[in-house]
């Protein structure tokens, strides 16, 4: 029984790591602009799908992965430049609707380019099973957890230690005051979109060898990442990470101990319950404190 639980935890933390990265992407853009970017899940899909495509056209493996991250980051920058920035006077709600439109557009473009097939990336370093006590894991699980840990620390460092990171926080806190400090608010928003797309792409690529990908894979991953972000408290980036891990573990325990058919439903139920009891999320400050 305990061995089984250890096994579920390993699966849960792996899946949860991708949710954490996607949730972090949501939190960064939300933090900088108050907008929930519903195209976040599409970044995950584009990362994985373009890696598959670059491999198929003959690019060496590491280059294909880097290329896919670069393509996705450019998509994120373009989304900001051509869809978000032109509507900069618009309300938050309008901007959110723009991101929903962008998500539908990106999914459609992926369908046209790559079709409806389901793809998988090769594992990064083989598929030889590793033993952890009596539980098993694949090298890819370690890749997912390790890269996620590095990125989470890097994001944390960026916001805690760099002036650009602080400037993005200042935009989130008071846009006009930030402009009066000489901060180019539009540029900071562009950086946020680039970072979010980057994180989404990495999440998509990391998990594609285990979880497969297709043109519509972004919907569910986006929804899970969004749940992670609100579970942790929207706008708290480390909350989003904790929320993602928690969500992954809950899902995996639910699927293993109760029924795999209900794993999504159970995860979302837990999110709803948490939000009913703590509307600001597990780690979020109350809305009033944030003003």
């Amino acid at each position: 029984m305990l061995d089984q639980i250890l096994q579920f935890l390993i699966t849960g933390v792996t899946v949860g790591s991708t949710y954490a990265l996607v949730g972090l992407g949501f939190a960064i853009i939300y933090n900088a602009s108050g907008v929930v970017n519903f195209a976040q899940g599409e970044f995950v899909m584009i990362g994985a799908m373009s890696a598959v495509w670059l491999l198929a056209v003959g690019m060496p493996f590491p280059l294909a992965l880097l290329g896919a991250v670069a393509i996705t980051t450019c998509v994120g920058l373009a989304l900001n430049k051509f869809a978000i920035e032109p509507a900069r006077g618009a309300t938050v709600i309008t901007t959110i609707i723009i991101t929903i439109g962008a998500a539908i557009f990106l999914r459609g473009a992926a369908l046209l380019l790559w079709g409806k097939d389901i793809f998988a990336l090769p594992h990064f370093s083989g598929e030889e099973t590793l033993y952890f006590g009596s539980a098993t894991l694949l090298p890819q699980n370690l890749w997912v957890m390790g890269v996620t840990a590095v990125l989470v620390i890097a994001v944390r460092w960026f916001f805690d230690r760099t002036l650009t990171g602080k400037a993005i926080l200042a935009c989130a806190c008071n846009k006009d005051a930030a402009r009066l400090m000489g901060i180019n608010v539009g540029l900071m928003l562009l950086v946020s979109y680039g970072m979010s797309a980057f994180l989404g792409a990495v999440a998509g690529i990391l998990v594609a060898p285990i979880a497969f990908t297709s043109y519509d894979a972004g919907i569910m991953l986006g929804l899970k990442g969004f749940s992670a972000a609100i579970l942790g408290g929207m706008g708290s980036s480390m909350g989003a990470v904790a929320g993602g891990l928690l969500l992954g573990i809950l899902e995996s325990l639910g699927a293993g101990l109760i029924s795999s058919g209900y794993k999504d439903a159970m995860a979302f139920t837990v999110v709803l319950l948490v939000l009913i009891m703590r509307p600001s999320g597990l780690f979020g400050r109350k809305a009033a404190d944030r003003v």
């Binding site: 002036l163 602080k166 400037a167 926080l169 200042a170 806190c173 008071n174 006009d176 005051a177 930030a178 402009r179 009066l180 400090m181 000489g182 901060i183 180019n184 608010v185 944030r290 003003v291």
Partner: protein, 242 residues
């Protein structure tokens, strides 16, 4: 009063709208290097709108703004700051969830390529306001109103202002703190900073100013040396309460 030089700031026929509502009507004014100029006027006269337009956070709908001989009317805010127009906004607007020191560092954002200068200036601001040094690790949101005002002024000084815009720095402060803030503004002026000071507290502002403008419903109705405005019968009745 060195007002014979070319003006540092020259505003001509400036207009600003909020949608269909015009808040600034054909305002013209000048600030010369080294001057302390006060703009006084009642609540809603358009003082804040005027300063926000000068800083580029509110678009001008007509007229021109020249700074040091160059037109800056349509420049984005961050370029205006880079040229040396720094503002202490109404209601302080410190970055509440960030520390005191981070607020100062962000004030120096436009000077980020000159790390030594920023570090030295932060030390100077701490010498000017020792309480900020004491609380440098605390969140700005936890400071008292007076301390936040000091932080807002310090933050603007980190932008290396050639022209310092102050929007009602005495608002909501206890009389002793008001005195302290005005003393600091006067000292900055005496040390050579050019200042454009907006105040409802007309008496205190005109006491330390070289010249003053009176703003009413978005228009300049009077401009004169500060001493003359303090003597002016209509100004005294309307703004000085005696």
């Amino acid at each position: 009063m060195p007002s014979s030089d070319a003006p540092l700031l020259e505003v001509t026929d400036l207009a600003t709208h909020y949608g269909p509502i015009q808040a600034i009507h054909s305002v013209s004014l000048e600030v010369h290097p080294g001057e302390l100029v006060a703009i006084v006027g009642a609540n809603g006269a358009g003082k804040t709108t005027l300063l926000r337009t000068l800083s580029g956070v509110q678009p001008a709908s007509g007229g021109t703004i020249h700074f040091d001989g160059e037109e800056i009317t349509r420049l984005p805010a961050h370029r205006i700051v880079a040229r040396g127009i720094c503002q202490v906004p109404e209601g302080r607007q410190v970055f509440a969830p960030l520390s005191v020191e981070d607020n100062l560092r962000l004030g120096g954002y436009s000077q980020r390529r000159d790390g030594d200068w920023v570090a030295q200036k932060i030390a100077e601001v701490y010498a000017l306001f020792p309480i900020l040094h004491e609380k440098r690790g605390q969140l700005a949101g936890n400071l008292s109103g007076g301390q936040q005002q000091m932080l807002a002024i310090g933050r603007a000084l980190l932008g290396r202002p050639r022209l310092l815009l102050l929007d009602e720095p005495s608002m909501g402060l206890a009389p002793l703190l008001v005195e302290e803030i005005f003393r600091v503004v006067r000292e900055l002026h005496e040390a050579g900073t050019t200042v454009l000071l907006v105040e409802q507290n007309a008496n205190a502002a005109l006491q330390i100013a070289d010249r003053g403008y009176v703003l009413e419903t978005g228009k300049v109705v009077t401009s004169a040396p500060a001493a003359a405005l303090l003597e002016d019968e209509t100004v005294r009745k309307a703004y000085l309460g005696h």
